[in-house]
């Protein structure tokens, strides 16, 4: 029989254990991420070093991620990975906490990759760039003339009709179409958007399919299509081992640069640990692992990651050509709500043509 005193103590002990919430909670970190952060090879070193478990949840589309945050209790999430061009939306909604800029190694980043205009607000840092790459033209060089891929006009010349796939994301593809028409992505407005309708429709007419990441990779790998508009290293890198003929280029009209940022979620129960995770991700080790994540590859923002990548990995990422590529690529368009809606309507029209 348990002595009465022990019975009385048991609930108190249970309460005491439960009240250890903060320290018990410190053993877990909840991160809302893109699929490249779900690679155990990326998470394990951090988990081992800090004795924590990183719980990751994937999301697709900024609105979906922000809605998840909106519908969660404060403290449910500690870390957010988000499209760099949408950091402002998360800041506006109050979802990101300020981070100490001096704790982040942005001085080691590739030129222009600190992206203060996106990651900071009124001099305060809310996110840090972690990975970037390009939405351009990916192709199988044994099936197409690589010289043709240097000119976007060749895509709608008739020569490659039915052999083109379009990546199903309207921002980069409309951006590319704009570049093809000589309009910088930052100059796309509600007024000139209409001028992109016909070239976008022409591209669709020449294309065989409009598909997501996996279907685009499958189509290129199986020869269903020979060109993916909007593709880049993120599409071909994981396939190159099986098919070294896959290639990508930035045509003379230019290409788009995608970038993703990471930040600490406002109200995190573990802000210090969350910051440590962010610091790990942008450290050379974290960057090298993130760059070669099993889901998709991309350039690390931190150039010092190059010391930890093999020559083969750097070759796939076109490490040595980054200065040229960075100079020739433009950021995604950053539309306001009205322009975003208009772009999406144009995309819907294109899909249904």
């Amino acid at each position: 029989m348990i002595p009465r005193t022990r019975i009385e103590v048991l609930p108190l002990a249970a309460v005491a254990v439960l009240s250890l919430g903060p320290s018990a909670g410190a053993a877990e970190l909840n991160a809302l991420v893109w699929c490249d952060h779900t690679d155990p090879a990326l998470l394990e070193p951090f988990e081992t070093a800090h004795g924590v478990t990183v719980n990751v949840k994937e999301y697709e589309g900024t609105a979906a991620g922000l809605t998840l945050l909106q519908q969660s209790q404060p403290g449910d999430w500690d870390v957010l990975v988000i499209d760099a061009v949408d950091v402002g939306r998360a800041v506006d909604a109050g979802f990101l906490a300020e981070m100490p800029a001096e704790a982040l190694p942005t001085a080691d980043f590739f030129p222009g990759l600190a992206m203060e205009e996106n990651n900071t607000r009124d001099g305060r840092t809310y996110a840090v760039t972690e990975k970037f790459g390009y939405n351009t033209i990916a192709f199988d060089r044994t099936k197409v003339d690589p010289a043709d891929m240097e000119d976007m006009a060749s895509l709608t010349s008739g020569k490659y009709d039915g052999r083109i796939g379009i990546y199903d994301y309207y921002l980069p593809v409309i951006g590319l179409v704009a570049l093809g028409q000589g309009i910088a992505t930052a100059d796309i407005t509600a007024e000139n958007l209409g001028s992109l309708r016909a070239p976008l429709a022409a591209l669709r007419k020449a294309a065989r399919q409009v598909s997501d990441v996996v279907a685009s990779q499958t189509a290129l790998a199986t020869g269903e299509v020979d060109i993916i508009v909007g593709g880049g290293e993120w599409l071909t890198a994981v396939l190159m081992q099986d098919n070294p003929n896959l290639d990508w280029t930035i045509p003379r009209q230019g290409g788009l640069r995608w970038a993703q940022s990471i930040g600490v979620v406002a109200g995190s129960r573990n802000p210090d640990l969350a910051l440590e995770f962010v610091k790990y991700i942008v450290s050379p080790e974290g960057q090298a692992r993130l760059a070669t994540s099993s889901c998709y590859w991309g350039m690390p923002a931190n150039a010092r990651a190059g010391d930890l990548l093999t020559d083969e990995q750097k070759a796939v990422l076109r490490w040595d050509r980054q200065p040229e590529y960075l100079a020739r690529a433009q950021l995604y368009p950053i539309p306001d709500a009205a322009l975003d809606s208009a772009m999406q309507d144009m995309w819907t029209e294109m899909l249904n043509q």
Binding site: D168, T222, E224, S341
Partner: protein, 284 residues
Amino acid sequence: MGLAAREARLGWGLAAPALAWTGAFFVLPFAVMLALSFARMEGRAVVPALDPGNYLRIATEPAMAGALANSIEIALTVTLISVLLAYPLAAIVAFLVPRRWQRLALVLAVLPFWTSYVVRSYAWLLVLGQKGIVNGTLEGLHLISAPLEIAATRSATVIGFVHFFTMLLTLTIYASLVQMPPNYARAAADLGAGRWAIFRHVILPLSLPGVVTGAFLTFVLCIGDYITPQILGGNAELTLPQLIMLQLGRSGNFPLASALAVALMGVVALAYAAAFRWLRIDRT
């Protein structure tokens, strides 16, 4: 309290958990979605309103009306083909396969359900591709000189759907056929009916509830599916679920997405009304 009143109270009490469940997980979410469908976007914010604008857009914008039409056409085509394939298959299992082998036959029929739906769709993409098994076989037999364009077309979407739903329909039709007393057919034969007359006047009418139940499920699941048109159809044409996803992914236009979802439910409700006669529980 009278007996009738006590029975009524007992009835409500027994039904209460189901009613609470339905209220919490269907009525309430649907009411929220309906209310949201009349809201409007101001910037990136959802503003409560009684604005029918989203429904007007669905009715008037060709891309949206087109997506609705595509969805209905695909769902009807899939349902029809699936019924035509599943009925003979179910009849073979029910009438020709020995009783002891019927369970195995049904297990084989539902085997495709054990594979991930997404994985199965990507597998079909490989089968139907230009260098896939279908084109490879046809070219090997010299039946075609150039590969057929099947993947990333409506045909691919329909094939993927039919593969899945034929199995579902086989189960519901088999359940109808196997419950049918064999004496009905024997009595008809004794009265001089031929095989076709027996099928047409006895077996088919009695199996219709199973057919219609399966057909309704097929139509509902098919019209609401996002994965297959996306993967196999290659966005060759837009369907309503894809359009809904497009509203949610980046821009977060929940009012328009809700209105599209309500329109989708409207189509399902019409399908239910059409099938209602055969879906009545008291017929089974």
